[in-house]
């Protein structure tokens, strides 16, 4: 039976890749309560500001609450700053909340976006609340299956299209192996001109060897 004694969890495979001029962010779309798939078309890439989005993994409730707080604080900050906030600032706000409440939270977040001072940037804030900027970041339970693939495939200086292919292929592999990840792939591309959202349905996912 749907196991309501187990919290709603974003099992998840999430990823973000930086390129010259912007970032590509990707995520699967599965939310589970125990083994029941509560939502198979979840949107795990949420807006924090016009130019800054975050990928959420871990507890659905925790990550929703944290991103709501960060969105609010960032709005206040922007009013005082007078210009678009930097991705680094949003990432540091995430860190403030995740590290300060580490005993009560289960949240793995990838914060990425584009700003005029730094171009595209990707920040990984894993479970303990550390902050690290990376050229590409992977997270969630499904990411464990694709560390090798990502390290072998990533190259410095990829174009936007190459980044999208890289993200799609990595997430498809993770979704195939991880029971807590699946559904559709959602992609968000952020650059100077704005935000572009895409969805790749199950039947259009890249296909790899699957035992047959």
């Amino acid at each position: 039976m749907e196991d309501l004694s187990q919290a709603v969890s974003l099992g998840t495979s999430i990823m973000a890749v930086e390129y010259d001029g912007g970032v590509v962010m990707g995520a699967d779309s599965r939310t589970t309560t125990g083994s029941y798939i509560a939502n198979r078309v979840t949107n795990k890439i949420t807006p924090i500001y016009d130019n800054i989005y975050c990928c959420r993994s871990g507890s659905a409730a925790d990550t929703q609450a944290i991103s709501d707080y960060v969105r609010y604080y960032l709005q206040l900050h922007q009013s005082e700053l007078g210009e678009e906030p930097e991705v680094k600032t949003a990432a540091q706000l995430f860190q403030l909340l995740c590290y300060g409440n580490k005993n009560n939270l289960q949240a793995g977040i990838i914060c990425a976006g584009w700003d005029q001072h730094n171009g595209g940037s990707v920040y990984n804030i894993p479970l303990g609340g550390s902050l690290v900027r990376q050229p590409f970041a992977i997270g969630g339970s499904g990411s464990t299956y694709i560390y090798g693939y990502c390290d072998a495939t990533y190259k410095i200086g990829m174009t936007k299209e190459e980044c999208k292919e890289f993200t799609k292929n990595s997430l498809a592999l993770a979704m195939a192996r991880d029971g807590s990840s699946g559904g559709v792939i959602r992609l968000v591309t952020i650059d100077k001109s704005g935000v572009e959202r895409e969805m790749i349905p199950g039947n259009k996912l890249p296909k790899f060897y699957d035992g047959r």
Binding site: T32, Y145, G179, G182, D210
Partner: protein, 207 residues
């Protein structure tokens, strides 16, 4: 995490007009990790009797081999094939022998039973300690149960012809697997009629 949900898996069986169908998913996993996608959970006992097992993978293997051993002895002594009804009883008593340290599997039995010279469809299932249930529509086992109940209640009708039964079982199973994180990666469907047994492998979502 319950021990019955450690490996995942789903099995469903349905009765049609002079036929039965039994189907299972193909996943073998360890909690959320998928190890292989080639692990059917339906086994043939004889031409007229099939067994579906879900639950802990090691117990599925052991229980299946134990039952085959007992069925072979039955065949040697009785000089005839075991009927689904008798096999069902054998499964129940084998499980109850381990009442206080059970096999973590919940079997589903299906087949064609000879009653007064006519072959009639038969299905039954038991819980992990051998409590049997007999119905004339459908039965299922595995963590996918709630989803399967909804689909089967909606789509099953009595007296489905073999082709319609195959479609119904397949669609019920595939849709239910989409809502279970630890079952899926394809399905195998057996359709048993008095003339023959057909097996089809279904391509489902591979996630």
């Amino acid at each position: 995490m319950s021990i019955m949900e450690y490996n995942g898996g789903a099995v469903v069986t349905m009765i049609g007009k002079n036929c039965v169908a039994i189907a299972s998913d193909l996943r073998f996993g360890v909690q959320s990790a998928t190890i292989s996608t080639n692990n059917p959970k339906v086994f043939k006992i004889n031409d007229r009797c099939f067994l579906g097992l879900s639950g802990l993978a090691t117990d599925i293997e052991t229980l299946y081999e134990k039952l085959v051993f007992r069925v072979n002895l039955y065949k040697l002594r009785e000089e005839r094939d075991i009927s689904p009804r008798v096999f069902s009883n054998m499964v129940a008593s084998t499980l109850y022998e381990k009442r206080f340290g059970p096999y973590f599997t919940e079997p589903v039995i299906c087949g064609l039973e000879e009653v007064d010279g006519v072959l009639k469809p038969y299905i039954s299932a038991t819980d992990l300690i051998g409590a049997p249930v007999y119905t004339d529509d459908f039965l299922m086992t595995g963590p996918c149960n709630p989803a399967l109940y909804g689909m089967c209640e909606t789509m099953w009708r009595p007296n489905l012809e073999p082709d319609a039964l195959f479609e119904t079982v397949s669609q019920c199973l595939l849709s239910s697997l989409d809502r279970d994180a630890i079952s899926g990666w394809g399905a195998m469907v057996y359709l048993i009629t008095p003339e023959n047994v057909t097996v089809k492998k279904l391509q489902g979502r591979q996630d």
